[in-house]
């Protein structure tokens, strides 16, 4: 049905809108050539690069390119460029890392990433632990098993109360109530004594009774003044920091049933491939050490 436009001598498409006809001019030559070029390019591209979908995957392409391979190359390159500083970190004396600005910066940054991936699940992204939830705050100055950098590295390596490492920190508090070592009245009295040594409101008469019971039953680990003993992970009961909570009910529950907090041994020696290398542990120790009040 196409007809010639009289004025321009060009065929029309036959479309008419409000009396306006559409001319059917050919595409510009350069456009057509670019179009053909893209087709030729596409053929070459699909041979050189991964293109055609198959049942399992796709054609690999002559150049053997893959985005996954590119990422692997990037990671390998990064590993190679970090190899030297990681080797230095693995053999470094932890106490002097701080004096080497470059090594220290690397350790803090690497340690921060490793911490986020492996430790933050329990200790929190900001390392504040879970208040009164049994996950220690790593920012404060109260350390159950010692807070100098080497002790931190040891704790990360071997963990606490686990079966993976024979050298993990280990200690056991008796369940004074559940195992019927003490009566409920005696436990109440000890609770009042613990409240008194930590400077909280308490019943002075009961606390007096409790102080004798404390000396007999608790002081062997927590010390006569209740200041704890880091060698066996016995917490300081006289300060403001409580791992599970410092109110009357929580202290009562703790004495009744005892606590048994655990932490995995993170060294690859005990965990295999999912474990951390010596350099990584040193990085975490450095990171945690600079967070707050480590000694």
């Amino acid at each position: 049905m196409n007809k010639l436009d009289k004025k321009d001598d060009v065929e029309t498409t036959g479309h008419v809108w409000d009396g306006i006809e559409e001319l059917d001019n050919p595409m510009p030559r350069w456009w057509v050539w670019v179009f053909y070029l893209t087709i030729i390019w596409a053929v070459g591209y699909s041979i050189a690069y991964p293109a055609w979908p198959l049942i399992n995957g796709a054609t690999a392409g002559l150049l053997g390119y893959s985005t996954r391979g590119e990422v692997a190359e990037d990671i390998a390159r990064l590993d190679a460029s970090n190899a030297e500083v990681l080797a230095r970190l693995a053999t470094a004396d932890l106490t002097v890392i701080r004096d080497d600005a470059e090594l220290h910066t690397f350790a803090v940054n690497a340690g921060g990433s490793i911490f986020a991936a492996n430790c933050s699940q329990c200790h929190g992204r900001g390392a504040a632990g879970v208040q009164a939830g049994g996950y220690p705050n790593l920012l404060d100055d109260d350390w159950l098993w010692g807070g100098d950098i080497e002790q931190i590295a040891y704790t990360v390596t071997h963990g606490i109360r686990n079966e993976q490492s024979l050298d993990s920190h280990y200690s056991l508090m008796p369940a004074f109530g559940a195992d019927e070592i003490l009566t409920n009245d005696e436990i109440d009295a000890i609770v009042q004594h613990v409240l008194s040594i930590s400077g909280q409101d308490h019943d002075a008469v009961l606390a007096g009774v409790g102080s004798t019971l404390f000396l007999d039953n608790c002081a062997s680990c927590h010390g006569e003044a209740g200041t704890g003993m880091q060698e066996i992970g016995a917490p300081n009961l006289s300060d403001a920091i409580w791992l599970y909570g410092g109110d009357t009910d929580t202290i009562l529950t703790t004495i009744q049933n005892a606590r048994f907090g655990v932490m995995p041994a993170w060294s690859e020696e005990f965990r295999g491939a999912s474990g951390l290398s010596l350099a990584e542990i040193n990085a975490i120790a450095t990171y945690v050490h600079q967070l707050g009040s480590a000694q």
């Binding site: 701080r98 900001g126 705050n137 404060d140 100055d141 920091i241």
Partner: protein, 477 residues
């Protein structure tokens, strides 16, 4: 006047062969070309001593370490507002100059104009003046044409290479780079940038020329909004020149005007227009037609200025025999005064910013995960990550302190209590972790928030900077 007939959408370029011209505007343009190209080519080679640890290049854009050096000024990325301010000033300056004097930027100082001028001068030097170039253009290809064209492009490439070369010298130590470029050890980016700029310079200045101004540059299209009847621009006194020689309009009542239709103004025009047609978008007001016409007027014993700098108002007034305005009356108008004051306000703002710009600075980021930490003696502690900036060319001891209504105690991570001096390396930002604590007895430990201010003092010259933040207490819990 712009023609209203149906022009085709595509116009093939009419080659332009500007003839050589002498005169005061041509001399001014030579002077400006020497000045601007001189600045461009020589600036990277000026040295400026900033101490042992900083580069000694006066003008340097150090992208790798994110520093911009300009003589005694050093700009860090966070001070990028200086660049924004300069761009605003450049924009307002362009408005000001355009409303006062038309496209004076285009005619004299625009890089496209300056380089085109240089390329045309080179072409004229190799291929001869206008007539010789027209002949060569029309000539069949032979050894002579090939030789001239090859020589021309070779010289153009050298100019292009020097242009691209000068550009890369702004981004790294120029003498070192020159040696590296010559012995082939410079970075690939340097070579590729130079290659790109060489090609684009030859293309823009040698081949595309006026087409860039007419088709690629947005500025000519914006001009119209900036110019008015008072703007001093280049015009043709048609009341004096018309009817020109050979015109059918010459009669007894209207004898021939001063224009002898010698085409001198057309032949020298670098954009290939006839200024006698009136104001045109293509005109870059380079003033060469004035020089050409003045020369002819002198030869035929007529007063100069048939083509001249004048405003549309003046042309009209002259035609009617009315007095024309003085130059200052054209320039001092509310419009130009507003542009000038805006320009000066931004300029003064930048000057003030530059003067109060400190060589020492800090930003404080409060660590809010967790918001506070309880220590074993009940002390409440907040942690802050402080970035200290030292713009000096040497390591400086900075002392940190905190002021607040509450008795807050400051400690720098890894340093003994009471040692609040941090050594910040030369020309760098240093991150320190700072602990601020409130004893259990004071209200700040239980209040929700206590305002506080960090101070950093350069212990050598007592420069100081501060940043306000809050100390978080337990909030009563």
């Amino acid at each position: 006047m712009t023609s209203t007939d149906n022009k085709p959408l595509y116009a093939k370029r009419e080659p332009v062969f500007p003839r050589k011209v002498k005169g005061k505007f041509r001399s001014l343009k030579w002077g400006i070309m020497i000045l601007t190209l001189g600045i461009y080519y020589l600036a990277p080679w000026i040295r400026w001593d900033r101490g042992a640890e900083l580069p000694d290049q006066a003008v340097l854009v150090d992208l790798a370490s994110r520093r911009f050096f300009f003589f005694w000024i050093e700009i860090w990325p966070h001070e990028f507002y200086f660049i924004a301010g300069l761009l605003i000033m450049a924009g307002l300056g362009l408005f000001l100059f355009t409303s006062a004097m038309g496209r004076v930027w285009c005619g004299y100082t625009c890089p496209q104009t300056v380089w085109t001028d240089l390329f045309i001068a080179t072409e004229r030097w190799i291929e001869g003046d206008r007539n010789a170039r027209v002949r060569l253009w029309n000539a069949k290809w032979d050894i002579r044409k090939l030789r001239l064209r090859t020589t021309k492009f070779a010289v153009w490439l050298v100019i292009g290479l020097a242009t691209g070369g000068a550009w890369v010298f702004y981004f790294t130590d120029a003498p070192t780079l020159l040696v590296n470029l010559i012995n082939g050890t410079a970075h690939t980016v340097a070579y590729s940038t130079m290659a790109m700029l060489t090609v684009s310079t030859v293309f823009f200045g040698g081949i595309a020329r006026e087409q860039i101004c007419i088709y690629a540059c947005p500025w000519p299209r914006i001009q119209a909004a900036m110019m008015d009847e008072d703007t001093i621009t280049i015009g043709y006194r048609s009341w004096r020149g018309e009817p020109r020689k050979h015109s059918d309009a010459i009669t007894k009542e209207s004898p021939q005007g001063d224009c002898i239709d010698c085409m001198a103004c057309v032949n020298v025009c670098p954009v290939g227009i006839d200024i006698r047609d009136g104001q045109q978008m293509e005109c870059i007001t380079c003033g060469l037609c004035i020089d050409a016409c003045d020369d002819i007027m002198a030869k035929i014993g007529k007063p100069r200025g048939l083509i001249d700098y004048l405003s549309l108002d003046d042309e009209d007034a002259e035609r009617k025999g009315l007095p024309t305005k003085r130059v200052w009356q054209h320039i001092l108008r509310p419009r130009t005064l507003i542009y000038s004051s805006l320009w000066s306000i931004v300029g003064m703002g930048l000057m003030v910013a530059l003067f109060i710009q400190s060589d020492i600075d800090m930003t404080v980021a409060a660590v809010r995960n967790p918001t506070y930490v309880v220590l074993s003696d009940g002390t409440i502690r907040n942690v802050y990550e402080i970035r200290l900036r030292n713009k000096h060319g040497e390591t400086r001891p900075f002392e940190l302190s905190v002021t607040s209504d509450a008795a807050l105690q400051i400690d720098v991570q890894g340093q003994a209590s009471g040692d609040d001096i941090v050594n910040v390396p030369a020309d760098s930002t240093h991150l320190v972790r700072v602990f601020v604590s409130a004893a259990a007895q004071i209200p700040a430990s239980t209040d929700d928030r206590t305002p506080m201010r960090f101070w950093v003092v350069d212990t050598i010259n007592d420069d100081r900077a501060h940043d306000d933040t809050y100390f978080n207490g337990t909030g009563g819990t």
